[in-house]
Amino acid sequence: MSKSRKKVFMVKIIKYVVLSVVGIIFMAPLIFLVSNSFKTFSQIIQFPPSLIPKPFITTNYTALFDSTDPNYISFPTFIVNSLIVSVGVVIGTVISTVLVGYAFARLPCRLKNFLFIILLSTLMIPPSVLVIPIFKIYRDIHFLNTLKALIVPAFFGNAFFIFFMRQYIMGIPYELDEAAYIDGASRFTILWKILLPLCKPVIISVVVLEFVWTWTDFYTPLIYLTSESKMTLAVGLAMFQGQRQALLGLLAAATVISIVPMVVLFLAAQKYFVEGISFSGLKS
């Protein structure tokens, strides 16, 4: 008995050691990023690199918000733009994917499977192929250089998340729908009152994933936005990267600030997120 307990203890220790080592390896870039954001430029480029900033400076952070600084970019505007876009896209994606995912999972329709295959096949089209046609459409409907170009498409569905949502809803027992139907509930009431509460984990996963993807999306804002006042953070950060040199200190500070919302959101939604991804919320 005590021998097996000892063994369990040893296994636990080994597990923790391995996990800590791997954890440190994964944390290292982040720790360096934070430490770099408090260093002077000459210390950042020092080789071998050191972890402790000396001297410890905060000007990298203050310069981001000081419009008189020679290296000022409209950083606060970028944050606001990124928030508007990310929140807008998340709302759009959730509304559209819940509705379409529900339809694919539950509604009877003759061509349903065919339509679903068409939907999935859009995932296979490389996004770069679509850039010029979409660009031309946006130009004609005057979406270029407006945040609409980034937000509105989210309200028209997202093949990946529709698939995600459909699979999850299909896993919910149909008997629940039937019971409600017998009690006189409409399709919409079933979705709203019965399915949505059960879909909480998957919706939160969609929220987290879509928020992070939109927040870090570089390509879309780069192509469709032109003026600095409309730029989002991901593209704004690249402005610190020049043709030949980079403002490493400012870049590090700006990056630290830019990852805060993602970390906060992830921590808040962690419990549901893991559940939603692993589909462990299915009760049948």
């Binding site: 002077t40 430029f41 000459s42 480029i45 020092q46 080789f47 020679p70 290296n71 000022y72 970019i73 850039v131 010029i132 660009f135 031309k136 130009r139 004609d140 409907i141 005057h142 979406f143 270029l144 609409k148 780069l222 192509i223 032109t226 003026s227 600095e228 593209v235 690249a238 402005m239 610190f240 990267q241 020049g242 043709q243 030949r244 040199q245 403002l247 400012l250």
Partner: protein, 441 residues
């Protein structure tokens, strides 16, 4: 059946409504524009925040003196710029004026007829080429000028005055030195971990703490091509069809760069140098570095004293100078306003504002020689940057240039890392260049 039809038609109706709502607000925008008296032009450029803020100051001054023109600045970072411009050109939403790196990108734009020939405009406004440093070749394609030069750069020799002082060396680099003289100086400034320099017996080349000299091995245009010119050779033939990396002159340059590391021990190895990126000199561990004048902004918080000198030479005094210009797009419907703005940026007012904000070096001789060189602060010897303009390697774009130069850059480490002999490396490069040229034809 009927019910389904009404459902479908209602969806279509709703979509149409939505679409009309969007187009509705769009057309309002354009209507507003045409009613105004003011012309708005769009100016696209890449650059660091510092350069953007400098440009904003120029735009503000321009708008002040040209009340009927407004300029919108569209900024991107260098990596994104070219892809973005090409997408915009393809979809007819190109800006009116764009920043042009003529030495590397002109042949991607000029042959397509999308850049305006500014020669006649210069003639009309009596702007002389001689008022500017001789960078015009960079912007010339088929005898037509496609950009107005905006700034100027040259590759100079940076030296760390503090390290010279610490070593007790009073002879500092001056523009008349040869590479051999510089190497001799560098040997005295290369220190191992016991503090011995490279000329002393017992010097340990495996544990060097401070390097005497660094000449970037991987800069094909500024290092390799320029040094070959100094030897009297060429990297590419006059018609740009043949790579001459196998000429005795070219090979002696590669040999020289190799010797800096393995024979004189004054430079880090190819791979050791890469860990510093382009920032060797600001670390303070290099006594002399051959690098572009753009490095100055990285030295703002340097803890040592430094200055620059005209680059060393071999047999001929030929230097690497570069310029970036502003081009007007033929698709622009505001050609006159665009030219006014381009002219202003390259004119005395624009160049002075640019020199003042210190983000770029002026290319207009008047401002460079009477204003920029007198600005306070390091480097003291700002004149060295302009002295190199007297004789420089023409920085001209040609078909496949960047692919060919990248191939050279990617293959040469074989030699510098001792993976292949000089001849093997050179033949390898020639074969690669051939295949690049064949695939393009």
């Amino acid at each position: 059946m009927k019910r389904r039809f009404t459902k479908i038609s209602s969806v279509i109706l709703a979509a149409a409504l939505l679409a009309s709502a969007f187009t509705g607000c769009g057309s309002q925008d354009s209507a507003k524009k045409s009613n105004d008296q003011v012309t708005t032009i769009r100016y696209a450029r890449w650059g660091l925040p510092e350069e953007m803020n400098g440009t904003k100051k120029i735009i503000a001054a321009f708008e002040e003196s040209h009340k009927n023109i407004k300029v919108t600045l569209e900024s991107s970072s260098w990596d994104q710029y070219w892809e973005k411009i090409q997408t915009e050109i393809a979809s007819n939403t190109a800006p009116d004026v764009m920043l042009m790196d003529g030495g590397w990108y002109l042949t991607q734009f000029a042959p397509k007829g999308i850049l305006a020939d500014i020669g006649p405009l210069m003639e009309k406004d009596k702007i002389s080429k001689d008022d500017y440093f001789n960078v015009w070749q960079t912007f010339t394609y088929n005898n037509k000028i496609y950009s107005m030069p905006r700034d100027y750069n040259s590759i100079v020799l940076y030296y760390n005055k503090s390290l010279f002082k610490a070593a007790g060396i009073t002879e500092v680099p001056n523009g008349n030195m040869t590479w051999d003289q510089i190497v001799k100086l560098a040997q005295k400034l290369t220190l191992d971990k016991n503090g011995k320099n490279a000329t002393e017996p017992g010097f340990d080349p495996n544990n060097i703490e401070q390097y005497g000299l660094y000449v970037p091995y991987d800069n094909v245009d500024s290092t390799i091509e320029t040094l070959i010119w100094q030897k009297g050779g060429r990297l590419m033939s006059v018609d740009k069809n043949t790579c001459q990396i196998d000429s005795p002159e070219s090979k002696s340059v590669l040999q020289f760069l190799y010797d800096l590391n393995y024979k004189y021990h004054v430079s880090p190895t190819y791979s050791a140098a890469l860990k510093y990126g382009e920032e060797q000199f600001p670390t303070g561990k290099f006594a002399m570095v051959y690098q572009g004048s753009w490095l100055q902004s990285s030295l703002a918080d340097a803890k040592f004293d430094w200055d620059i000198a005209v680059a060393p030479s071999f047999d001929k005094k030929v230097y690497c100078t570069q310029s970036v210009g502003n081009a007007i797009l033929t698709t622009s419907s505001n050609q006159e306003a665009a030219w006014e703005f381009v002219k202003y940026m390259s004119g005395k007012e624009g160049q002075t504002i640019m020199a003042q904000s210190k983000d770029s070096i002026p290319v207009l001789k008047d401002v460079a020689e009477n204003f920029y060189v007198k600005l306070p602060g390091n480097p003291q010897n700002k004149q060295a940057i302009f002295d190199e303009a007297v004789s420089s390697v023409p920085n001209v774009d040609f078909k496949q240039k960047s692919t060919i130069y990248d191939a050279i850059k990617n293959i040469e480490p074989l030699y510098f890392n001792k993976k292949a002999t000089l001849d093997e490396t050179v033949n390898n490069i020639l074969a690669k260049v051939k295949s690049i040229q064949n695939s393009a034809n």
